[in-house]
Each structure stands twice: as structure tokens, then as C-alpha cells.
Symmetry: C2
Subunit: 191 residues, 2 copies
């Protein structure tokens, strides 16, 4: 169970057996069913979530009730409402399980302690965040400079596992268009 997490960490940093033990005891195992919420505004986001199997999504619900997807988090992805988790402020983003999902979660306190005891972990998270920044920057440029067609093709590259696991209206929400228009675009592509 924790092996997947340790493996992921070891992509970027080395860990002693003691450190692995410490990490294992700091992360708690959690199982949720499809449709369950892990974060729901205005609750404070209690955990940073690491997905072992299944898939989560993080989204914002605007004043018209439209859902805007920030990210999908399938296997080996991290997600939380970062602002809420770090500052203990009210969350603004929903995190919902799109499938039955197994997670490892860590509280803010446990993570702080962990970062103090294993300073090298700062390194791991620095790299994780750097990658997140590059991904988000690319996404902004996508939205600003590309038509839906092209954005869809990039979605397929970024999440090749997800194309057939997700309902289309969620992909539409990730791309920032209505399901109706997305349907039109798809049929345009396939001809």
C-alpha cells in the first residue's frame, strides 16, 4: 500500500529505512467510493492526498453552478486545495472521487513534522511543485492561445489513461467548454 508512495518519492530522493518507516506511519490509508467528496467548501482541507488507485478531480463551482475542472488526479498524483490546506482557510475547491479510490493522506501537522525530520523531503516537494507550475503555465497558454480542438488533443497527451474512464462532460469542463459544444468538436474531429 505505502510501497507506491515510497517508490514515487524515490524517483527524486534517497531514503533510509528509518525514514521510510517514518513516512509510512505519517500517511494514513483511506478508501472512498465513487461520488464521495474529500474536500467540500467551506470545509478546511485536512489532508494532502496521494492517489494509489482510482481517480480524483479538483474543481471550482462558479456562481452560475458551472463546474470548472482544475485537475484530474489518477494513480500517483497528488491533490488538495493547496490554499486551504496550507493556511487553514475555508476551501473553495471541491475534490471528488470519480471512481472508487484508494489514497494515502497526510495532515498539515504530520507533513510539517515530516519535513523537519527529513529535510530532503523539501527537495521532493520543491520538484513536485516545479512540475505543477510548468503544467499550469502550459495550461494557461493553452486556454489563451488554442482552440478547443487543440486543447482536446493535449488533454489526450497529458492524461492518456483517462479518455475512456471519464464521462465526456467532465472532459468538456476541463477544456472549458460546454458538453454540447464539445460533442460538436469531437464529431468534427472524427470526420
Amino acid at each position: 500500500m505505502h510501497a507506491v508512495l515510497l517508490q514515487e518519492l524515490k524517483k527524486h530522493i534517497n531514503l533510509t529505512a528509518d525514514e521510510e518507516e517514518l513516512i509510512t506511519t505519517s500517511f494514513r490509508h483511506k478508501k472512498v467510493r465513487k461520488g464521495q467528496f474529500l474536500v467540500q467548501p467551506p470545509d478546511i482541507a485536512l489532508y494532502e492526498h496521494f492517489v494509489v488507485s482510482g481517480c480524483l478531480m479538483e474543481y471550482y463551482l462558479d456562481d452560475n453552478g458551472t463546474q470548472h475542472t482544475l485537475i484530474f488526479a489518477p494513480e500517483r498524483w497528488w491533490t488538495t486545495d493547496l490554499n486551504s490546506f496550507l493556511k487553514k482557510e475555508e476551501s473553495r475547491y471541491y475534490i471528488e472521487a470519480l471512481e472508487d479510490t484508494e489514497l494515502l493522506v497526510v495532515t498539515r501537522e504530520a507533513l510539517d513534522k515530516l519535513l523537519k525530520e527529513i529535510p530532503l523531503l523539501n527537495n521532493y516537494f520543491r520538484i513536485l511543485y516545479q512540475n505543477a507550475i510548468m503544467g499550469l503555465e502550459e495550461r494557461i497558454l493553452n486556454v489563451l492561445s488554442s482552440k478547443v480542438e487543440e486543447r482536446y488533443l493535449r488533454f489526450l497527451k497529458k492524461y492518456p489513461q483517462l479518455e475512456n474512464r471519464l464521462p465526456q462532460y467532465l472532459i468538456a469542463s476541463y477544456l472549458g467548454v460546454t458538453p454540447e459544444f464539445f460533442s460538436r468538436v469531437k464529431s468534427r474531429i472524427h470526420r
Copy 2:
């Protein structure tokens, strides 16, 4: 000169005199005039840039020659083409001085060394990157869920110093609209 940088670092971490000295010698001072480029594709981004005075912008030039602004970096902001800087790959984003600007710059090698010698710095950068992520996420949601009017008002909140320092067409490019349409929006607001 380096005092501004040290002050910024000390917002999040404590430093000994020795460490301050080390940082001061690792960052080099650089002065550029309005219009100069600090990163220009396909050159590799040599430095992480910290702005002491003046203002930089980072943007992407799409296939039609349209300029899309990723961020503005006025006083006390950091910027670089992160992907290029970290992986030594060809840069894709331009970084240009919008005013005569004074900077402190650090190479990848010097920064790596610094992070090894002062592990606490990982902490500072982790926090910096976390903040960047929150800002970028918010920007994505803005583009996806808000009309230009509202995006403009948020720009004003995020960069209150810049409204009167920048030409309008750059603000339009940050908002993701044409200068013509932005002009229309502004006159609509003022009535």
C-alpha cells in the same frame, strides 16, 4: 542591493550571517534597459531572476505572432522559463524588460550548490512555488469562468502598482483579449 533579496528570503526562513554571505556571493547583479531580453527562445534560460527594481514580463509568442503574457514581474518577484532553467532545454518563453530594471540572478549550478549548503532554502522555494501554484490555479479559473470585465478587476488587485506603468496592449495580452476589445471593455466600465 542584495539587501532586498535577503529581506525577501527572511520573510519565510532565518539565515545566519555566514549564510547571508554565501547567498550574496552566489547571486550576481545585472542591469538591463527597457526592451532588452533576458531570455529569448531558443536560448537556454541561464538564470533564475529576482527583480530588485523595474519590471519584467514573461510571455509566449504563438504561431500567429500573438503575444500571450504569463506573468509580470515587478519589484521582489522571481521569474524565469522554469522548464528551460531546470532541465537545460530550449526556452519557449520570452522574458523582456518593460522598464530599465535591476536584477539579481543565479545560475542553475550556483542555486543547486546553495540549496545543498543551506537546506533551509528548499523551504523558501517550496513556499514560493506553492504560492505560484495558487496564483496560477486562480488564473486558470479566471480565464475559464469569468468575463473580461471581471478578469480586469482581478488584474488590478493582483498588480496594483502596474495599472499605470504598463501600456494597455500588454494588459490586454495578460487578460487574453485583443487590445481593441480591451479598449471597448474599459470604456464600458467607465460608464
